[in-house]
Symmetry: C2
Subunit: 264 residues, 2 copies
DNA sequence: CGTCTGGTTGATACGACTCAAATTTGGTGG
DNA sequence: CCACCAAATTTGAGTCGTATCAACCAGACG
């Protein structure tokens, strides 16, 4: 069992921004909203790479929020086939409202070592009840998560390997960019080729060859867990990437906090 | 533009049950909850088969609830490829909370002629604010919708044609069964082979051949828009169907209305 | 060092696609 | 009630994308 760490220790310092900046892709938050968020995420634990945060069948007891590291949402078939149905990056909630369900119907596994905040249902209620901006931003988060899942369905159903991989890489880059963890076409990229295979419904052999092709076409570089996108326009065109589904343009700005809202 | 019909006319009579029975897969509702639901869905319109209820890019103005008929949620690529990312059956909400987003990132199209209730955001707020059972049931609906989307991702990513089609047919049967529209392995089934192809990421030619195979294996019959499942156990085994993700077992029963709750 | 995980490569097989055409079904109007 | 038309289904032949199986290699790690 991973260690459960209490209290807002010094390690917390870097964690607030990831959450806040994710939600601020939707609406600007007040300093107050931000501190409520980091207060709510004061209990956290670390999960080692390649271990589950929570497993299929478990009863969800709290909401998980990834503060640091990458995770995957995956499902497994009885014969061993595995599908990564979502990639979770810093700032993402794993399972908003999931405590309504009795059992997890999928697992969440750490890709890298993970720092996850654990928020109780009560705390979630407290957080949203008095803060409409946060509540709306969380709903937005849910809707975007659902939109991403639909786009993955399209990706798997209609795009072929070359387009499909490209689309996935762009999505991840843009999502990281939205939380300040990617710029100039460059970002950390801890997924193995096998992870990419499980996320795209291909074999790792084919992912390998397709990745070579992408490199050969001078579209990207990918080594040492670092992705460098070389030609975003061409990649977007060939993968028919439409950014709509990420709903990134401050759609909730009518909810924006006043720029200089006094602290309570 | 389809006709917009006002008021709880006689046509409304049959509509309440679909919604209520969907939500009652989660928690039993009081007569009061039920009448609030049917009050909320008193404005409805009809949509002809093969026309859009709402299209990608549109601004969502209200929540749609399908009272009668089947619809599909679909996305389209610039080169014409289309993927049905979800099937919507009577009792399903199309887009809970969607009004938070500025633009639809996908379309909803009628498969058969449709009767859809249109509920304003205000009405949704009114409906849930005073009725925790309904609110929880709606959250459950959202979570199950998301779980289905994930299962589709798995289905497309890992199952091959024969398993994949089987899995889809079982899912639809079970979902219809949950709202009282399927029994004894039999149900209406208005999808064309082309629809099935777009929902499974296969070509209609291959769907045709696979369907023949399923019939040849005496697993099902499918003609004249009627599906008859002949051997559910074998179909579940071969498609590795795990009913977990549908969360059908009255998981919210602690929220159940008292059996003889007096009407207000 | 040996071991392990992740990446790379080659040869071969097969599932699903493409294209094309024929056939059946269901709906519509005469 | 039949003739007609469009939509949906069925079938065949040939091709292609991706899987499979099997090695081999490189770097990380204890």
């Amino acid at each position: 069992m991973p260690l459960l760490t209490h209290g807002p220790g010094p390690t917390l310092v870097g964690s607030g921004p990831a959450v806040a900046s994710k939600l601020e892709a939707f609406a600007r938050l007040s300093p107050d909203d931000r501190s409520a968020l980091s207060h709510a995420s004061r209990y956290f634990r670390y999960v080692d790479a390649r271990r589950d945060v929570i497993s299929e069948g478990d009863e969800p007891r709290h909401v998980h929020l990834v503060l640091e590291g990458w995770a995957s949402r995956y499902k497994q078939l009885p014969d061993g086939r595995r599908e990564i149905v979502a990639i979770i990056v810093p700032g993402d909630f794993c399972d908003l409202n999931i405590y309504i369900l009795k059992h997890m119907d999928h697992s969440i596994g750490a890709i890298t070592r993970l720092k996850v905040a654990m928020i109780s249902p009560d705390e979630m209620v407290a957080l949203t009840a008095q803060r409409p901006r946060i509540q709306q931003a969380l709903r937005w988060h849910e809707l975007v998560t659902a939109a991403i899942q639909r786009e993955w369905t399209l990706n798997l159903g209609q795009r072929k390997a070359y387009e499909r991989l490209t689309h996935l890489l762009i999505e991840l880059y843009l999502r990281l960019n939205a939380v300040g963890r990617a710029q100039d076409g460059r970002c950390d990229f801890p997924l193995t080729q096998n992870d990419l295979a499980e996320a795209t419904g291909l074999t790792s052999v084919h992912v390998n060859r397709t990745l070579r092709e992408l490199r050969g076409d001078r579209l990207l570089e990918l080594e040492r867990k670092q992705l460098q996108i070389l030609d975003m326009p061409r990649m977007m065109a060939l993968s028919m990437f439409n950014t709509n589904y990420l709903h990134l343009r401050h759609e909730g700005q009518y909810l924006d906090a006043p720029m200089n809202e006094p602290a309570l």
